[in-house]
Symmetry: C2
Subunit: 206 residues, 2 copies
Amino acid sequence: MMKKGLLIVISGPSGTGKGTVCKQLLNIEKDIKISISATTREPRVGEIDGVNYYFIDEDIFEKQIENDEFLEYAKVYDNYYGTPKKYVIEEIKKGNNVLLEIDIQGALQVKEKYPEGIFIFILPPSMEELKKRIIGRGTESEADINKRFESAFEEINYVKEYNYYVINDEVEKAVEKIRGIIKAESCKVTDNIEEIISRYKEELSC
Amino acid sequence: MMKKGLLIVISGPSGTGKGTVCKQLLNIEKDIKISISATTREPRVGEIDGVNYYFIDEDIFEKQIENDEFLEYAKVYDNYYGTPKKYVIEEIKKGNNVLLEIDIQGALQVKEKYPEGIFIFILPPSMEELKKRIIGRGTESEADINKRFESAFEEINYVKEYNYYVINDEVEKAVEKIRGIIKAESCKVTDNIEEIISRYKEELSC
C-alpha cells in the first residue's frame, strides 16, 4: 500500500506574511508540489497559462463548479478564482505533498471537501506588528488600513477551525515549525497502521 | 494562561536503538527535562542517588504505589522500577517538555495515567537489521537471541497504541523526526485556542 501525500493548507489573515513563509518553505522543501489556481480574469502582461494561473473562460469555469471540480472557489468582483481538485488529488495519490496558500474562506471550503488536509493558520506576532505591516504596504488610505486591520483581528477567531497555528515573528522560525508539522504528520500512526505492520510481516514471510 | 509542557514518551521493541536516539535528542534539545526513575535495587558502583536513579526501600516503594505516586512501575525479578509522577507533572506545569524513555509495558501504563502525552514508537529499519543489532550485542546465546527477536516482532503490533512512529534507519534522521513532532505538538490549536485568541485581544484592550 502506497503512503498518501499530505495536503498542506497555509492560510491566515492578510498581513501575516503567509506568502513569504510559503516561498521560503518551497525553497527548502523542493519536493512539495504547489497547486496552480484557475481564473476567469484576463492574463496580465508576463503571466503564463499553466504557470501563474490556468486562464479559462467563464462558461467553462461554471461548468467545472457544477461538476464539483474545485476544492474551493470564489468570485472576486467579476472574476472567478478556484483550486482545481484533480491535480491536488493526483499528486497526493502519488505520495507527494501539495501546498495550498489561500485565504480563510478558501481554506474552510477545502476543509469541507478534504477534511484530512493539514490546516495551518499563520498569525502575526502582535496586533501592533500586524498594523505596521499593513501600513508598510503603503498603497492604502487610512480608512482602508483600519478596515483591513479590523477584519484581520476578526479573522483570528477562525484559528479554531485549523489543526495548527504558527506565529510568524521570524520567517525562518515559522518555516521550521511548518517543516516540523509536515514531518510529524508523516509519522502519524493513525491511517498507517496496516502499512507499518505489513512492512515487517512481509519481510519475514519472504 | 501558561502553556503546559509536553510529556514525550519514547518507546519501542528492544534493539531498535531508542536509547541512542534519546541521547542524541537531549544533546540537541537542551531544554528537555528527563525524568529519573526510582528503584529498590542496590546502587551499582559509581551510581549516584538522584542522578542515575532514586534508590528507595521496598516498603516505601510499595507505599508510593498505593498512593498512586507512579506514572508507571514494574517488578523485574525482585526489584521495583518506576517513574515518579510528581517531578513529571511539576515540570509540565512549568511549561517544560519532559522525556520518558521506557519499554512498551511502561508506556501503556503512562498512557492510562496521562493520555495527553505524546507517544512515539521507535521501529527498526527492517527485521533483518533488528536481528543484526540484537546479535551485535554479543552477550546472548542463540536461543536468547531468537526469543528476543520473536518478542520484538510481536511487540511491533503495539504501534497502534501510539501517536507517532519513527523508523530508526539513521539516528540523525530519527532525531529530526522527533524534533519535528515536538515542534508540531507545540503548534496544535486544540487546547490552546483561548490562549491564542486572548493573546491578541488583551493587547488591543490595553
